[in-house]
């Protein structure tokens, strides 16, 4: 897990970021790795717990990571937004990895409670839904990269419209518009009932 020294580093990194799509890929990668590692470690921890009642939401995990990794004192609203922008991507990656493993049958035990052969319509998203979403986002990204990014941040990172706007350096109105369209488009892609 992260030692205090790491938190300092990460805080500093965050502080210097002005735009996520900065040229300095080194810094971005550093951040991403740190966040990814942390998120994955936490997620693993939860899944290992047999009695886990699926209590964790990804966005919760992201928040928790933020608190662990970033010095609270130096954190501004802006750096938080940047962090979440990165974390959203990391989270997505983790979920996808996890979903793939599940779908491939490698996971199991401790997670399944009751057989869901008579799954009802109000079931939580299955592994296949995550993968479908992932695929859909990729597809969307090919047509409108920014829209896909916005969708990713909102869905996986739990960012608000304002925060997303800040991270991507566009106006909140633009974000709202993109998000509206993204929702419709993704719904159709995922074949909503």
């Amino acid at each position: 897990m992260s030692a205090p020294a790491d938190r300092g580093t990460i805080s500093r990194l965050l502080r210097d970021i002005h735009s996520l799509d900065e040229v300095d890929t080194d810094r971005r990668n550093q951040l991403f790795s740190a966040v990814y590692d942390e998120l994955r470690a936490m997620a693993r921890q939860l899944m290992r717990d047999e009695k886990a009642g699926h209590t964790l939401q990804p966005t919760a995990l992201v928040h928790e990571t933020f608190i662990r990794l970033v010095e609270q004192d130096g954190a501004t609203w802006e750096s938080r937004a940047h962090f979440f922008g990165i974390a959203a991507r990391a989270m997505r990656q983790i979920l996808v990895d996890h979903a793939r493993e599940k779908a491939a049958g490698k996971r199991g035990g401790g997670l399944t409670r009751v057989s869901l052969s008579e799954a009802e319509g109000s079931e939580p998203p299955q592994a296949w839904e995550v993968l479908s979403l992932h695929g859909a986002l990729d597809k969307l990204a090919r047509q409108d990269a920014r829209m896909a990014r916005i969708a990713e941040m909102r869905i996986f990172g739990g960012l608000t419209g304002e925060e997303t706007a800040h991270v991507l350096r566009v106006s909140p109105r633009t974000v709202d518009g993109d998000w509206s369209v993204a929702r419709l488009w993704l719904s159709r892609e995922l074949g909503a009932a």
């Binding site: 964790l56 966005t59 995990l61 608190i67 399944t112 009802e120 109000s122 998203p125 839904e129 047509q143």
Partner: protein
């Protein structure tokens, strides 16, 4: 599609979305032209609008991490569940799907069957249901859907069979039938009665929402029915937790009706009041046709935050099909249901029913004062920090902490580190909450909170949020500082807020006026009356200058102006201001919880004004009025406002010297506080302290000590040692012992109090200076004159260091040194100091201010010492007259004045005139102070001297002997006095005659 086309498609789509449905087709014709593919794409997407997939709806993924294994097929309808044949689907609930089913035995009818989803503790649920079947089945109420049966399938999944209610959600019903507001309220009232029925049987619904309240027709009447009641209880808490975490669409739907405590996952905090909250949201939605909080499309943490922190959107002015007015009372009722803090809501559905009935009946609703109003004892301008503003600060500072607390409420499995974080987060949040609530000077000075405030203030400097948030945050932190007595810091912040408001809204906007008022209150607290007055006048000017002045804002301004006048002892000006304020409340301002409190406060202020002007009788009448008001509107069982009024009444009685009458009232207040706040609560400590002071004035020292010690213990336990409250109780204990001449104990308490005051307020502070004065008096009583003088002089020096030269408190310091010197006969040294003191009070205080009278009285004493008897007598005469007017004809001060007069007359050798005065002094002191008080001894000696000088030794001797007898028991007596008394008594040093 390539990116360019996609981009184009996006624009067209967005434009189309913004248009009303009817116009879309035409627009699409224009925009797409011949491009059929483009048009098809847009049309398809438009069609998705009503069918957004759950995973995407709020943008939050629930349970994506851990959910169960195999991707399964889409849901299918079972043919049979238990003995019931499934006919169709009625709908989906968070807990499962509700089917329409057919019952064969014992009765053939259609029923609703809810098949509970997996993941819920099925065995437990059924078991629980079995054990409660009787209760649940008996819940026989026309507005509650009956529960017929429950069972479980072979695989263990439970199902519940209920009365089939064919109807529409209550919100739909209202809208479709365009009911007017009154009818909607009446409909809602029926629902509340049903919930009340359940609450009385100990059943909480936990999941009230429009889809659970259906309106059906029966016999031509519309009948609302609450469904799903029993199931919530039977399934117990884990179920609710699961439900909260299920599919996003579902969660948000339920989330919107969830009380803040439920949303935060604190399932242990769920009780009848959570149902009240939900009822409030439903009522709101029925009237406004929208929800009080905009959470749709928000990510989960944000949604939860909004529910927990944002104030609801205003009910009035909503665009709705409801006709008719939403009057203020209805508004109040809804808001009370929606209070974030459960303590401030209706306690149960029964109370809500009562107020709704009253409202429909056009009777005044029961106003229950919010339990967290603390009123500054000194200040009269009530100042309550708006919860909304406070909430914004939460958002700013504690968003991480709050979010974490929320998350941790949900993911209860994290240990160690998470627990520590949660504790820290909760503490910060809690501290912040306390910062905004605590307003009493006795509350306790929590350094951690102060540090938090300082940190908050610092962070403020680091960046701008949006303008409104910036202002609100500054105001909130400024108010908090003010409540802690940090007037300088508060001033800085409040000024900033004011300037920002001015820039944003212009100098004549009512909100700017209110900001001026906030500043005024702050100055008032710091006793900077000039500045306070300036700000308050400006506020009043602005508020009165509006085209349609809001009487409440004007009233509040008047209240502050009145308070300023009161502080300056400008009673003649204060009274008309307060009376005008009261008139506004009684005639023009709408009655509500809050305004009734403000009216009560204004009346209390008037009472204080009258009291200080000596019109104690009138003041008592008003205080009793306020007490009645509080009793009637508050009810003694849930409020300490009554306790406070009782305190005030008792205090007035005390001031009239009716301590005997005051005692039972203090006790009553104490009982109330004990009952409501608990025996360990700081407010109880305050009541104990008051009772202690009362008993002390009745000279029942042992009982007084008991009460004061208990108060000290509570203060210590609840708030800590280094707090103003604890310090001040120690001071009183010191005074208690000083009054009994227990000098060592008195000194001990006073020194400890002083130490605490130094820690709490800093090395140099007016309170510490006051402590030094107390210490000086005790040392003086113990005969340690040099130490006493040092203490007095230290205190004075401190005040001169920190205060402006004409500050009233400096006059206290000056007087303390001067009086000490005068009593030692060092009149020449005393005189210039006392003159300075007099100069200050003459300028700053009204002629009838007790402090001023006292200061002048001592001046007279010093003048006597300098031989300027005529001046002295004239002055003393004036003082006595005023004192009589305020305190009545018998009072220790009067006795002191008479004593001094007798002495002065004696020294002028006017023995015949002196004699009756001395006798009167003795008589009064004997009566008021008891037979063994040292002041009585002093007067006896004076009497003896006069008699002796007249040659009347026969009477003189007994008087002197009595004085000696008293002094025998005293720890210390001035040697010259003793010697003189012995001389007259004819006794030697060892008492021999």
């Amino acid at each position: 599609m390539n990116p360019e086309r996609f981009g184009r498609m996006k624009e067209i789509l967005l434009t189309a979305l913004a248009l009303p449905k009817e116009e879309r087709a035409a627009y699409l014709d224009r925009a797409c032209g011949e491009d059929a593919e483009l048009r098809r794409e847009v049309t398809e997407l438009l069609g998705q609008k009503d069918r957004t997939a759950g995973i995407v709806k709020t943008g939050a993924l629930e349970n994506a991490l851990g959910e169960a294994a195999s991707p399964g097929p889409r849901p299918r309808m079972p043919g049979q569940v238990g003995p019931y044949r499934i006919l169709g689907i009625l709908g989906e609930g968070g807990m499962g799907i509700v089917y329409r089913a057919e019952q064969q035995v014992p009765v053939h009818r259609e029923v609703a069957l809810k098949l509970v989803r997996t993941g819920i503790d099925s065995a437990g649920a059924v078991a629980r249901f079995e054990s409660e079947r009787q209760v649940l089945a008996i819940m026989d109420h026309p507005n509650i859907a009956r529960l017929f049966d429950a069972g479980s399938e072979d695989n263990g999944r439970p199902y519940f069979v209920m009365e089939l209610v064919r109807g529409v959600p209550i919100t739909e019903y209202c809208r479709a039938n365009r009911l007017e507001v009154r009818e909607r309220v009446r409909l809602h009232l029926e629902v509340c009665r049903a919930v009340r029925h359940a609450h009385r049987r100990g059943v909480i619904h936990r999941d009230l929402k429009p889809s659970n309240v259906l309106v059906t027709m029966a016999g031509g009447q519309s009948v609302p029915k609450v469904i799903d009641f029993s199931i919530a209880k039977a399934l117990g808490e884990p179920a609710l937790g699961t439900e909260f975490r299920t599919r996003t669409g579902q969660v948000v739907g339920t989330l919107e009706y969830m009380s803040p405590e439920q949303a935060a996952g604190r399932v242990d905090a769920v009780d009848t009041r959570s149902d009240v909250y939900a009822l409030g949201v439903v009522l709101y939605e029925m009237i406004a046709e929208r929800l009080p909080y905009d959470v749709a499309g928000q990510p989960l943490p944000e949604a939860v935050r909004r529910i927990a922190e944002e104030p609801p959107s205003p009910l009035r002015g909503a665009k709705t099909t409801a006709t008719g007015r939403v009057d203020a009372d209805l508004h109040t009722i809804v808001n009370k249901c929606l209070e974030k803090d459960p303590d401030r809501r209706y306690g149960s559905a029964a109370e809500l029913v009562e107020d709704l009935e009253r409202h429909l009946d056009s009777r005044p609703i029961l106003a229950r004062p919010p339990s967290t109003i603390y009123q500054l004892r000194k200040l009269v301008g009530r100042h309550r920090v708006a919860f909304g503003a406070a909430a914004l600060v939460f958002a700013f500072l504690a968003v991480f902490s709050v979010t974490l607390a929320v998350q941790l409420g949900i993911q209860r499995r994290e240990r160690a580190r998470a627990e520590a974080q949660a504790r820290k987060a909760e503490r910060v949040t809690e501290f912040l909450k306390e910062a905004f609530k605590a307003a009493r000077e006795d509350r306790g000075y929590d350094a951690t909170v102060k540090e938090t405030l300082d940190a908050a203030a610092e962070k403020l400097a680091k960046g701008e949020r949006d303008p409104e948030a910036d202002v609100a945050i500054r105001q909130a932190i400024g108010d908090a500082y003010m409540n802690f007595g940090e007037y300088d810091k508060a001033e800085w912040l409040l000024r900033e807020a004011l300037e920002m408001q001015e820039r944003r809204l212009g100098p004549a906007h009512p909100e700017v006026g209110t900001a001026h008022r906030s500043l005024a209150v702050n100055f008032l607290g710091a006793e900077k009356t000039e500045e306070a007055e300036r700000e308050a006048r400006r506020a009043l000017e602005i508020h009165e200058g509006q085209r349609a002045p809001d009487p409440r804002l004007v009233a509040l301004d008047l209240g502050v102006l009145g308070a300023i006048r009161l502080l300056k002892y400008d009673l003649d000006d204060a009274e008309p201001l307060i009376r005008r304020q009261i008139a506004l409340y009684e005639n023009e301002i709408r009655r509500s919880d809050q305004t009734i409190q403000e009216l009560a406060t204004a009346k209390e202020t008037l009472a204080e004004v009258l009291q200080n002007g000596g019109r104690v009788g009138e003041a008592e009448v008003i205080v009793r009025e306020v007490l009645e008001l509080r009793r009637r509107t508050g009810g003694t069982d849930r409020t300490t406002g009554v306790a406070m009024s009782l305190d005030n009444l008792a205090y007035i009685l005390t001031r009239q010297g009716k301590s005997v009458d005051a005692e039972p009232i203090f006790r009553e207040a104490l009982e109330i506080r004990r009952k409501i706040r608990g025996p360990g609560h700081p407010e109880t400590a305050i009541s104990l302290r008051n009772l202690g002071l009362c008993l002390r004035s009745l000279r029942r020292f042992a009982e007084a000590e008991g009460a004061l010690r208990e108060a000290a213990a509570i203060q210590l336990e609840a708030l800590g040692r280094e707090t103003p409250g604890y310090g001040s109780v120690l001071v009183e204990l010191g005074v208690l012992h000083a009054a009994q001449d227990h000098v060592p104990e008195a000194e001990r308490f006073t020194r400890e109090a002083l130490e605490i005051q130094r820690k709490v307020y800093g090395e140099e502070h007016t309170v510490v200076a006051g402590g030094l004065r107390s210490l000086g008096r005790i040392l003086e009583a113990g005969g340690r004159y040099d130490e006493a003088e040092a203490a007095f002089r230290s205190g004075l020096a401190m005040l001169e260091e920190i205060l402006a030269p004409d500050d009233v408190q400096i006059s206290y310091g000056l007087a303390s040194v001067a009086v000490f010197l005068a009593l030692r006969g060092r009149f020449e040294e005393a005189a210039p100091l006392q003159e300075r003191a007099v100069a200050i009070v003459e300028r700053k205080q009204d002629k009838d201010a007790p402090e001023r009278i006292a200061t002048l009285g001592w001046r007279a004493f010093i003048l006597d010492g300098l031989g300027r008897f005529a001046e002295a007598e004239a002055l003393r005469d004036d003082c006595l007259t005023r004192t009589r007017r305020i305190f009545g004809d018998e009072h220790p001060w009067i006795a002191s004045g008479l004593h001094a007069r007798a002495m002065a007359l004696r020294r002028q050798r006017r023995f015949d005139e002196a004699l009756p005065v001395a006798r009167e002094a003795v008589a009064m002191r004997r009566k008021l102070l008891g037979g063994d008080h040292k002041d009585l001894a002093a007067s006896l000696l004076e009497l003896a001297e006069i008699l002796a000088l007249r040659g009347d030794l026969g009477e003189a001797r007994p008087a002197a002997r009595e004085a000696l007898a008293i002094w025998k028991k005293a720890p210390f007596v001035d040697p010259p006095l003793l010697a003189r008394a012995r001389e007259i008594a004819g006794e030697g040093e060892n008492g021999e005659r």
